[in-house]
């Protein structure tokens, strides 16, 4: 899989409409800058993310996928935590079988005001991805 050299890693973020996407919005509002090659797709709940989508992102050339999970704040109930965990576990298995570094999928619970936490997570993920996938830069 050819990945071009990049100044910043290409990261796909799955956020959630009610909880983590507002935090990402707030990061923008507060001008807490993060790499501009981070793209967000908002879904209703992090436990509804399909393995297939994540694998598709790697196939198309994303360096990393970050799930900004609802955590215990999820409006659809606390089982979200365990179910999102299972999505991650299943995807990790699939990644291993395709020889993709499982660390290229990260998850963190991002509450609706966790903009600082989001930016910190993304920056550290970006560094990891650059180090492992684009060591030349």
């Amino acid at each position: 899989m050819a990945i071009a050299n990049r100044k910043t890693a290409k990261i796909l973020v799955f956020s959630t409409d009610k909880i983590s996407d507002p935090a990402i919005d707030m990061a923008g509002l507060l001008k807490l800058h993060y790499p501009p090659t981070v793209y967000t797709i908002a879904v209703p709940c992090s436990s509804g993310i399909k393995t297939k989508w994540i694998l598709h992102a790697y196939e198309k050339g994303f360096d990393g996928v970050f799930i900004a999970a609802d955590g215990t704040d999820c409006v659809y109930g606390e089982t979200c935590v365990e179910k999102t965990g299972r999505v991650i576990a299943r995807t990790h298995e699939a990644m291993k079988s395709k020889d993709i570094d499982p660390a290229r999928l990260r998850m963190a619970a991002i509450c609706s005001v966790c903009s600082d936490a989001f930016v910190k997570q993304i920056r550290s993920f970006n560094e990891y991805l650059l180090k492992t996938l684009h060591p030349e830069t």
Binding site: Y39, P44, A57, K60, R90
Partner: protein, 566 residues
């Protein structure tokens, strides 16, 4: 038939166009498949542009539009309505968030922010190509509201809702109504006393047939959503359920409790908090006594638990400057030989309250002001509290006041008990008070549909301000349910019957018991109950044959967006 899409890219009066080359964005999408027109606009949300969009839809035969502007949390509904005015199904509308998630987030990098914006718009186009028309779900709305917390805010909200022919359950965990205000006597800006106000509101409530006051009661369970919310109430030993259409949260504040030795609290003798001082002057008669000694010199230390440089309480508590000035004036009027010393960080007697500050100065109260990085200190000398300050107002002189009583002007803190907040999943701001959706557009609504907030649970407020917010929140709660029917987004899961093998793996995943198995043409398949489904998508990833899709978040749509973002 080929889809005909119109794209509008908003300058947001510079909020976007200062950081993103919007014309370049327009040019890079105008020749994409299905794009019939691509325009930039100064304010997409303005009336003129909205009308232009409606015209464009008709003149260019568009069957879908996309606006790339601010967060969809602000204006998704605005543009869905525009779509509808153009006689399109409003769910064909797709929004691209290029302000909060591009121009502002990457304001430090013009070319990169522009590139990202182009991709976000292309992803929206990809989504738009496969977006289908939908019909909103209609829900019957219960014409009743639960008001949680029977302080002045909750009581006033209950009265105004009851006036609007709505049944109100006023839920209070204490054994009586009135909250903090019931404990107060003299108030600023009014001749009325706190207990009088509470009594007047309580009398009004008791007369109303459509108000049920539930004392000693707590909400311990919450099922359902806007229009039909079932709350489990625990009243002493008893538990029962009530059903309401909307919930108004008015759980109030807690006075800040100073830490051990914060300005001598708990360590230096005769250091008390503002609420304790209020009780003292409201109830003492003749001479002001504390610990058996007559009080003459009183030192007030402002901003205790507010405007802290570190920790959670960086906010200003708003009410305390005026409350303290007022209490000090009352003390001076009521008792003999009182001299007040105010150790402030700049007096914030805003608006008409300014007159109290002027009155206080005229009456001989002494105001000192500390430097921001050099707050006053309180220590004991001869078993008496002493306050030391470097005073700005006398050009930085070090001054000491030997006081008989030191009053720590404690601010408002959010409730430490978060039962209600966590039950309803209410987001909190950085100050840990409940957060509104938008301070100006939707100041009493929360991100949870049907749950409104009022009073000091949203942030420090005076009585007058709390009552205004109570009435405003009641109006919103009322408008949620007043029509008896509510429309909600048809965000639900759908099952591809052909692909379903009837394995039943999805059934335990659903938190709302919306999936069951039925016989369909000789085969057992899963079926979704559309009124129970909330559209979380939890069932979708577990299907071994990938037969479940979430409406508006289907495989085709998400993967199409991923393709556009790479």
């Amino acid at each position: 038939m080929e889809k005909r899409i119109g794209v509008y890219i908003c300058h947001c009066g510079g909020n976007i166009s200062d950081y993103v080359d919007v014309e370049k964005v327009r040019q890079s999408v105008e020749n994409d498949d299905n794009i019939v027109l691509a325009k930039t606009t100064m304010f997409a949300c303005s009336d003129a542009n909205q009308n232009e969009m409606v015209e464009d839809i008709k003149n260019h035969n568009l069957d879908a539009v996309i606006v790339a502007s601010c967060s969809p949390k602000l204006h998704l509904v605005t543009f869905r309505n525009v779509t509808e005015r153009g006689d399109l199904n409003k769910y064909t509308y797709v929004h691209a968030n290029i302000r909060e998630q591009a121009s502002w987030a990457h304001a430090d990098n013009f070319p990169a922010a522009t590139d990202k914006t182009i991709q976000l718009v292309k992803a929206a186009i990809a989504k738009s190509r496969t977006t289908k028309a939908l019909e909103p779900t209609k829900i019957k709305a219960e014409r009743s509201v639960a008001v949680i917390g029977a302080g002045v805010t909750g009581m006033k909200a209950a009265i105004t809702l009851a006036e609007k022919d709505t049944h109100v359950f006023l839920i209070e965990k204490e054994s009586q109504v009135g909250g903090w205000v019931a404990k107060w006597k003299d108030l600023f800006m009014t001749e009325e006393t706190g207990d009088m106000i509470v009594k007047q509101l309580h009398e009004d409530l008791k007369k109303r047939q459509n108000v049920s006051i539930l004392l000693n009661s707590e909400v311990i369970g919450n099922v359902g959503s806007i229009g039909n919310i079932s709350l489990k109430i625990k009243q002493k030993e008893e538990e029962f359920d009530i059903t309401v259409g909307s919930v108004l949260v008015a759980t109030g504040f807690e006075p800040y409790k100073p830490k051990e030795d914060e300005f001598g609290f708990g360590k230096v003798p005769n250091v008390i908090t503002l609420p304790e001082f209020k009780q003292l002057i409201d109830h003492e008669k003749g001479k002001l006594m504390y610990n058996g000694k007559k009080v003459e010199n009183i030192a007030y230390i402002y901003c205790v638990g507010s405007r802290q440089p570190e920790g959670g309480n960086t906010y200003c508590s708003r009410y305390c400057c005026t409350a303290t000035i007022h209490a000090a004036i009352e003390a001076r009027k009521k008792f003999k030989d009182i001299q007040n010393y105010h150790f402030t960080r700049g007096v914030r007697s805003y608006g008409k309250q300014e007159l109290l500050y002027a009155e206080s100065l005229q009456g001989g109260d002494i105001f000192l002001q500390s430097y921001e990085d050099d707050l006053p200190t309180v220590f004991a000398r001869n078993n008496r509290p002493v306050v030391r300050i470097n005073d700005i107002l006398t050009g930085g002189k070090e001054l000491e006041v030997e006081a008989d009583l030191v009053v720590l002007v404690t601010g408002m803190a959010p409730r430490s008990n978060d039962t209600v907040g966590s039950l309803f999943k209410l987001p909190r701001g950085r100050d840990r008070f409940f957060n509104e959706v938008h301070m100006k557009l939707r100041p009493v609504e929360t991100v949870i549909d049907g749950i409104t907030i009022a009073g000091a649970c949203q942030g420090p407020k005076t009585i007058l301000e709390s009552v205004n917010s109570a009435l405003a929140a009641a109006t919103k709660s009322y408008s949620n349910i007043s029509k008896g029917v509510l429309e909600t987004d048809p965000q639900i899961a759908t099952i591809d019957v052909k692909a379903c093998t009837g394995c039943g793996d999805c059934i335990p995943e659903c938190p709302f018991d919306a999936i069951s198995m039925v016989e369909d043409k000789g085969k057992t398949v899963a079926v979704i109950n559309n009124t129970l489904c909330k559209g979380c998508g939890m069932c979708t990833p577990v299907c071994p044959t990938d037969a479940i899709d979430l409406v508006a978040f289907s495989n085709v749509q998400i993967m199409g967006m991923i393709d556009a973002l790479v």
